[in-house]
């Protein structure tokens, strides 16, 4: 039961009690008066008049009182409702915002202060974590470069045997993978902190889809995977060309990597209302229902992927999701074990306006 309802019931009870007291008082008073006037059935008339007074004046007064009480309680609790709404809207990305104080120094103001203090401390902790990740990834890069350079120098040594060269080259590959993970982490941490500005140029999504289907075809050849480009409607979105290409390449690469020999990859791009809907489906081992919900988590890898020699940094879909969300779209992953896996991306189409013909700079923000 809400506080408001409880208070209103208590209020009604108090009112009813006072009405009872008033009724009893009125009854005594009236019966006294009537007795003084030597009336015969004084008691009967007293009861009658009392009831009449209660019904005619008391009940409207009680109703009015109840309505007034309800209104008063509502007024009194409105700041609490506001505060609840404001606190509900707090998430990890807007911790820096503060709840507004009413400034009249009441208990709720004090509560607001306490909330603000708490979010400020949370904000501080989040910032610390982000800065730590950024610094850590930054600091890792110089030793990685040195390590890589040392290995490269060793690899060029004419006295190295073929087996040594193979080992050195494999170490360089691992350093590259480490570098990719560090890069991915840096990107996501910056994105979390809202430090990455995306461009908003008109981008022909259909052209990018064709391009990435062509790349996928090349990537798919060693595994004899068939890449098909289905309907590809002309679609222009307002976005960052560079990031959208990254998104498409990521998805295309996944569709080829988590596939099997002689499998298929299907691309399609459709306009649906104000949205561009991109679907990339691939055959492959697929994911079980409980794993699907986690595909966008950082460093998540499907059980089947772990069982196979699939390279990658485990951040591809997290980055893809960030790119889509940053463009105001959404991304869905659906899969069935040993059947088709489909990634659906919905992006808002650019407003059809004469500005579209102008150079991209007109769209930058």
């Amino acid at each position: 039961m809400t506080i408001r309802a409880r208070l209103t019931i208590w209020f009604a009870a108090v009112f009813a009690l006072s009405l009872l007291v008033m009724g009893v008082g009125t009854f005594i008073e009236i019966s006294e008066q009537l007795r003084h006037a030597h009336h015969r059935s004084a008691d009967e008339r007293a009861v009658h008049e009392t009831i009449e007074m209660i019904v005619e004046a008391g009940l409207p007064a009680v109703l009015l009182g109840l309505l007034g009480g309800w209104w008063l309680v509502r007024r009194a609790l409105a700041p609490v409702a506001d505060l609840t709404r404001a606190v509900e809207n707090i998430h990890d990305r807007n911790l820096a915002e503060r709840l507004p104080r009413s400034g009249n120094g009441d208990e709720l103001d004090r509560l607001t202060d306490v909330f603000n203090g708490m979010t400020a401390r949370l904000d501080g902790s989040f910032q610390h974590i982000r800065e730590f990740t950024l610094h850590a990834s930054h600091e890792l890069k110089t030793p990685l470069t040195i390590l890589r350079a040392e290995l490269e120098t060793a690899l060029r040594d004419p006295q190295a045997t073929a087996a040594q060269r193979e080992r050195l080259a494999s170490q360089i590959d691992e350093i590259e993978r480490l570098a990719k993970i560090v890069d991915g982490l840096t990107l996501l941490t910056k994105a979390d902190a809202g430090q990455i500005a995306l461009k908003r140029d008109p981008v022909r999504l259909d052209e990018l889809v064709c391009e990435s289907a062509a790349d996928a075809e090349i990537l798919a050849q060693p595994q004899a995977i068939q890449v098909r480009l289905g309907p590809c409607d002309q679609a222009t979105v307002a976005g960052d060309r560079h990031r959208l290409r990254q998104l498409l390449l990521d998805l295309a690469d996944n569709a080829v990597k988590y596939n099997h020999r002689n499998g298929t990859v299907d691309f399609s791009l459709r306009r649906e209302g104000a949205l561009a809907v991109l679907k990339i489906s691939n055959s492959g081992p697929g994911l079980s229902a409980d794993q699907q919900g986690r595909v966008f988590e950082r460093f998540f890898r499907g059980a089947t992927a772990q069982g196979q020699p699939v390279e990658g940094c485990g951040l591809g879909l997290s980055i893809a999701q960030w790119i889509v969300l940053a463009h105001g779209g959404n991304i869905e992953f659906s899969s069935q074990p040993n059947a088709l896996t489909t990634v659906t991306v919905r992006l808002p189409l650019a407003q059809q306006s004469p500005q579209l013909g102008q150079p991209p700079s007109a769209f930058s923000v």
């Binding site: 930054h138 110089t142 890589r148 350079a149 050195l168 990719k180 062509a214 390449l249």
Partner: protein, 224 residues
């Protein structure tokens, strides 16, 4: 060729110096941004390798100061961040090239060499390596009388390899110049394309021209 390296990480600077000296370049090293600026203004260099994070004065500020004083030495920026925005900021500040860490040393050497060559870069429309020729206007590549059927991307890749004149092309450079991706695509796209290109231009021909340099990239060998 005279190269100035401004890099505060001792080991890093030593490795770069060694690699550049092995190519026969004259190399000077400064560890601080302000010292680097002074050195760059005092003596003419053919190329400047500049780290962004530096004590004394950061790399971008050194670069702006150089350009403000009318110094046009080609600059290769090194950065640990590797963000597109930073790349754009670096190029806007007047850098000719940008290399995110961790990079392959061979890639750095190739880029320094390319910067030193700047201005004398060949504008030729017909390129030739051994008996392989590529006509950028007719959009045609052939070897030993056989005309190849190349996709647009394969053509760009071949042109880039041929224009590099027998130098190693790092995977990062290929990704940048042929795909115009300024991020690590995290796929073996380059390797797969090169493999396909190799099948076309090397299968059935001798000598094999397209060589893999393990851990670094590829090389189109001119001559034996």
């Amino acid at each position: 060729m005279h190269v100035l390296i401004v890099e505060d990480e001792k080991k890093m600077a030593a490795l770069v110096r060694k690699a550049l000296e092995a190519e026969g370049f004259m190399v000077a090293v400064r560890m601080r941004g302000d010292d680097g600026l002074e050195a760059a203004l005092a003596t003419p260099f053919d190329c400047l390798v500049l780290d962004i994070m530096l004590p004394g004065r950061d790399g971008l500020s050194v670069l702006r100061q150089l350009r403000a004083q009318g110094n046009r030495t080609p600059v290769l920026l090194l950065s640990a961040r590797g963000e597109v925005n930073e790349r754009v900021a670096g190029l806007n500040a007047g850098a000719e090239d940008y290399l995110p860490k961790p990079f392959a040393i061979a890639e750095l050497v190739a880029r320094v060499r390319a910067l030193g060559r700047r201005g004398v870069e060949s504008k030729a429309t017909i390129l030739q390596v051994a008996d392989l020729t590529l006509d950028t206007i007719a959009h045609q590549a052939q070897r030993g009388g056989k005309v190849f059927d190349l996709t647009a991307r394969e053509f760009r890749l071949l042109e880039f390899l041929m224009r590099s004149g027998g130098q190693i092309c790092g995977r990062m450079s290929i990704i940048e110049k042929v795909w115009d991706y300024h991020f690590d695509p995290g796929t073996n796209l380059v390797d797969v394309y090169v493999r396909r290109l190799r099948e076309k231009i090397d299968d059935g021909f001798e000598p094999k021209l397209l060589e893999t340099v393990r851990g670094v990239g590829y090389l189109l060998r001119d001559g034996p």
